[in-house]
């Protein structure tokens, strides 16, 4: 709990504005803040409505309430077609219901997805807390705003923007653009609302913070909560001098590594890159990686569950999962998912397939700053990127040429520029898959 969070919690009960926005970089204790704020607010009025954007996020919050705030009665408002995980169903202090009538009488805190909250009618409470508010589309906020008088909005401005399946040009520049994030619309219509930002990332290691803060959060810089000596990654066994070994050794030393495969246009499914990724994960486990951090100063042996593999497309994630199940049984338990699905989660080591790897062009989807930001900010110790050579050239031949719309504001920097900054940083951490010795290229 840092100073900034404490100040926000103290201010909250006597807030005269209708809302308060908290911008939070990755791993800055956003969920902790949301949970504590709910605790503070329930002292004066009950229940407090808590909204998150996906069922997964809601389940995480409910678990946090049940574990860290056991004196509160927590309720989980859920849709009928979603099955709440077993541990929550069995939990004695968590009530689960599909109708607000079943929960509102006894609960101190009711947690649900914003989409589910939008179906609740004829209720109004003094306070609501909206978690991951930058992932929330403003039309969802429009459908839920009647439920509360005041609200705390917590979110990470650097993550992926909400998206739609249809052409939405006609809404560009409107202060209430339904495609914009809830926070953007809220602030455009209520310019006097106080905005706080959390200054410390407890997740990201010191090696990552400077790059991420500069590339993705130029307007709200932050620093690391841990020191270089807190976060270590070492191996019990010696390596075999394969490129994969060189990569994980380099990542252990510096927190970053880029395995560069020979240049080739492969479309989305690049079997060589998939095998390289799984090979790296395998070497991490085979060599018994030990991580130490503030929470585990005595050391922790890296388990499959501590590793995540991130991709841009779901077809890539699916192929890697299929390969993993078939050829790498020892990796069972490794999370493989797209950037969209990895939002909000944390791992010790992440292996990322670069969104532009193997591509012949760079579209807006692949250039989106939020996508790269999510992929490179999930780790506590090291992030290993796998990519085909030639991405810098690809970026230079495909500068982003999206039209700029008057009135549209964004807290996210230009994706093309962010890609270049990350790539420039990674050139010092590049290991070619073809050099036997794993020579560093500088």
């Amino acid at each position: 709990m840092d100073h900034a969070s404490r100040a926000i919690l103290e201010r909250l009960p006597t807030l005269t504005h209708r809302g308060l926005v908290v911008d939070s970089p990755p791993g800055a204790g956003k969920s902790t803040l949301a949970a504590r704020a709910a605790d503070v607010l329930t002292q004066s009025s009950r229940p407090c409505a808590v909204m998150a954007q996906t069922n997964n996020q809601v389940d995480h919050l409910v678990r946090r309430f049940a574990r860290h705030h056991p004196h509160l009665h927590t309720a989980r408002l859920t849709a009928t077609d979603y099955t709440v995980p077993d541990d929550l169903q069995k939990h004695p202090r968590v009530r689960i219901g599909t109708r607000i009538e079943d929960l509102e009488k006894t609960a101190d805190i009711i947690v649900g997805t914003a989409m589910k909250w939008a179906t609740v009618t004829d209720r109004r409470w003094p306070w609501a807390i909206i978690d991951e508010a930058y992932q929330m589309r403003s039309d969802t906020l429009l459908g839920t705003a009647r439920l509360f008088d005041q609200a705390l909005f917590v979110g990470d401005p650097g993550q992926l923007d909400p998206f739609s399946t249809v052409e939405t040009d006609r809404f560009h520049g409107l202060t209430h653009d339904p495609m914009n994030s809830a926070v953007a619309v809220l602030l455009a219509n209520n310019r006097d609302l106080p905005v706080h930002s959390l200054p410390v990332s407890w997740r990201l290691p010191p090696s990552a913070v400077t790059l991420i803060s500069d590339a993705f959060y130029p307007f709200t810089p932050f620093h690391a909560g841990s020191s270089e000596t807190d976060r270590t990654l070492t191996y019990l066994s010696n390596g075999m001098r394969t490129p994969a070994d060189a990569v994980i050794e380099h990542a252990a030393r510096t927190g970053w590594a880029l395995l560069e495969l020979p240049a080739r246009i492969t479309h989305q499914l690049d079997a060589e890159a998939f095998h390289a990724i799984l090979g790296i994960a395998e070497r991490l486990l085979v060599r018994h990686a030990i991580t130490t951090c503030e929470d585990n100063p005595q050391g922790h042996i890296l388990q499959p569950g501590d590793i995540a593999i991130g991709t841009a497309h779901s077809s890539q994630a699916h192929h890697i999962r299929a390969l993993l199940a078939r050829n790498y049984p020892q990796l069972h338990g490794v999370t493989v998912n797209t950037a969209n699905r990895l939002q909000g989660s944390e791992f010790r080591v992440t292996i990322v397939l670069h969104p532009l790897s193997g591509r012949g062009d760079a579209s807006a989807f692949h250039l989106e700053a939020g996508r790269l930001c999510v992929l490179t900010t999930r780790h506590r110790h090291a992030c290993i990127v796998v990519a085909r050579a030639g991405i810098a050239g690809l970026l230079d031949t495909h500068p982003s040429n999206d039209p700029v719309h008057p009135g549209a504001t964004s807290k996210v920097p230009d994706g093309w520029e962010a890609h270049h900054s990350v790539l420039a940083h990674l050139t010092d951490h590049t290991i070619s898959s073809q050099t036997r010795r794993g020579r560093r290229r500088s």
Partner: protein, 497 residues
């Protein structure tokens, strides 16, 4: 562009002939569409130059805006034709009985306007024109009908944003939905070359040769709304100058105007004929069943708009307000999802494309367990027949995925289990809807063993989110908008499209 479209495009490039991308026509085509070809002046945002329109291919009406002075008389003439066409669609209506409390009995027009334009740029031009005209002051008869024209243009161009709508269709996009050519998507924007690829004249060897011939700058005409720079410089500018000279000298202008009309008629006629050619080609395609339902919605929307005009009559606002924007986005998303789902259900070509992207798989039914039952939450037995489908498709789904199948529209399926055996994948499915109660099972839902079926990802169950009314716009979105205090909620509560 999906992999399959890329492949078809390459194949078309290799053979020189366009390929069909769809088995059926997915948009309703009216028997009497209003064909509209518009040219705008180079320079000003929405100053028309000429419009050729009509429902008869052999007798188009040509309206010319004078080189200088007011365009109102020309726009009033355009308004008369368009409004007369739209009014003709209102002549008959049908009675729809009440379905439920929130859907009372109502009348619906049996027809709706359908305007065909050559390309998406013309849609944008009509949108600009609608924006410019619908707020005009209605002082006299002429400006009243011009304002009404602006209103209808806004309605039609708004409809054109909705996927699957057939109120205002750009022909190049319409053709592009059904054929794939061997040229780039940018080149497909040109109606003349696109048509040459799809239906080359008899004396040419291939679509590519025909397209090359049409590109001859001496004969090629842009399909509007912008005109050729060469045409502007060599033909229009001298006439405009002559017109200006006669004006300043106070001489009679009819001769230069007649010449302008002759020039523009000759310029537009080839494209006019091409548009009817495209119409005939599209008309010949068998219509998909889903397009009837979408046309019903089109008629509902049209009826609602007519009611809005008679009861309220104020022009649609220049910008969507917060609630209206959210409602529009929700409708567009719903329409897009419904259109995609119906295309997949109707068209084997659409299903093939989904199979290449992993949103569908096709396989043979190998095992049918017709006895499988479950105990429901109340303890009553529920009939849940199971099937095993063997597929060679790259499966990108996981157990629990809800599916639908084109052969049994009412049924719903869920994947229970996936096992890989060699190159084949065995998918075990449970039928979760459409099988009737255990007491009266509907055995028609069970496929024949050995049948080849394609299963696609079931579209999300759609429910129109509940938005506040316009006057209850919350503080997060700036509160209720100040203007139009008595503005009704339009048709936000009545959700149909």
């Amino acid at each position: 562009m999906s992999l399959l479209t890329s492949l078809l495009r390459m194949r078309a490039t290799a053979t020189g002939n366009a390929l069909r991308a769809s088995h059926l026509r997915h948009l309703h085509l009216s028997d009497q569409p209003l064909m509209l070809l518009a040219l705008k002046r180079t320079g000003p945002a929405a100053r028309p130059l000429a419009v050729m329109l009509g429902t008869d291919p052999y007798r188009p009406q040509l309206l010319i805006a004078p080189p200088s002075g007011s365009t109102t008389p020309m726009l009033a003439a355009l308004a008369d034709t368009v409004t007369a066409y739209i009014d003709a669609c209102q002549r008959h209506s049908e009675y729809l009985p009440a379905v439920s409390d929130n859907k009372p009995a109502r009348r619906r027009h049996t027809d709706a306007p359908q305007i065909l334009v050559p390309n998406p740029q013309t849609v944008q031009h009509l949108k600009d024109l609608g924006d410019a005209l619908r707020f005009r002051r209605a002082d006299d008869q002429n400006s009243q009908s011009v304002q009404r024209l602006g209103h209808w243009l806004t309605y039609l161009t708004d409809r054109a944003d909705i996927p699957g709508s057939a109120a205002l269709i750009p022909l190049t996009s319409f053709l592009g939905m059904h054929w794939v050519t061997g040229q780039s998507p940018q080149e497909d924007d040109d109606l003349a070359t696109l048509l040459a690829w799809i239906d080359p004249p008899r004396n040419t060897a291939s679509g590519r040769d025909a397209a090359l011939k049409t590109e001859n700058p001496a004969t090629h005409r842009l399909a509007g709304p912008a005109t050729d720079a060469a045409f502007d410089n060599d033909h229009l500018a001298p006439l405009f100058d002559a017109h200006a000279r006669t004006r300043t000298q106070g001489r009679d202008q009819t001769r230069t105007l007649a010449e302008l009309e002759r020039l523009l008629a000759a310029y537009m006629q080839p494209t006019w004929d091409l548009m009817w050619h495209a119409y005939a080609l599209l008309q010949a395609l068998p219509e998909a069943t889903g397009s009837t339902r979408r046309w019903d919605h089109e008629r509902t929307a049209f009826t609602d708009e007519c009611i809005h005009l008679t009861q309220d009559g104020r022009p649609r606002p220049a910008r969507d307000q917060a609630v209206a924007a959210a409602v529009r986005l929700a409708r567009m998303e719903h329409a897009a999802a419904a259109f995609a789902a119906e295309r997949a259900a109707d068209d084997p070509f659409a299903r093939a494309e989904l199979r290449t992207t992993g949103a569908a798989f096709g396989g043979t039914v190998t095992v049918i367990d017709s006895r499988h039952t479950l105990r429901g939450p109340t303890g009553r037995p529920q009939w849940r027949p199971r099937l095993i489908v063997s597929t060679t498709d790259q499966l990108r789904m996981e157990p629990g995925q809800p599916l639908v199948c084109h052969a049994h529209r009412k049924a719903a399926y869920t994947i229970c289990d996936i096992t890989r055996r060699g190159g084949d994948t065995l998918v075990e499915l449970e039928i979760t809807a459409g099988m009737g109660p255990a007491a009266r099972p509907n055995h028609g839902i069970l496929p024949e063993p050995g049948a080849f079926l394609v299963f696609t990802i079931a579209p999300d169950h759609y429910r129109m989110p509940e938005f506040p009314s316009r006057d209850e716009t919350p503080w997060t979105h700036g509160g209720p908008p100040p203007d139009h205090p008595d503005h009704t909620d339009e048709d936000e509560s009545d959700e149909s499209q």
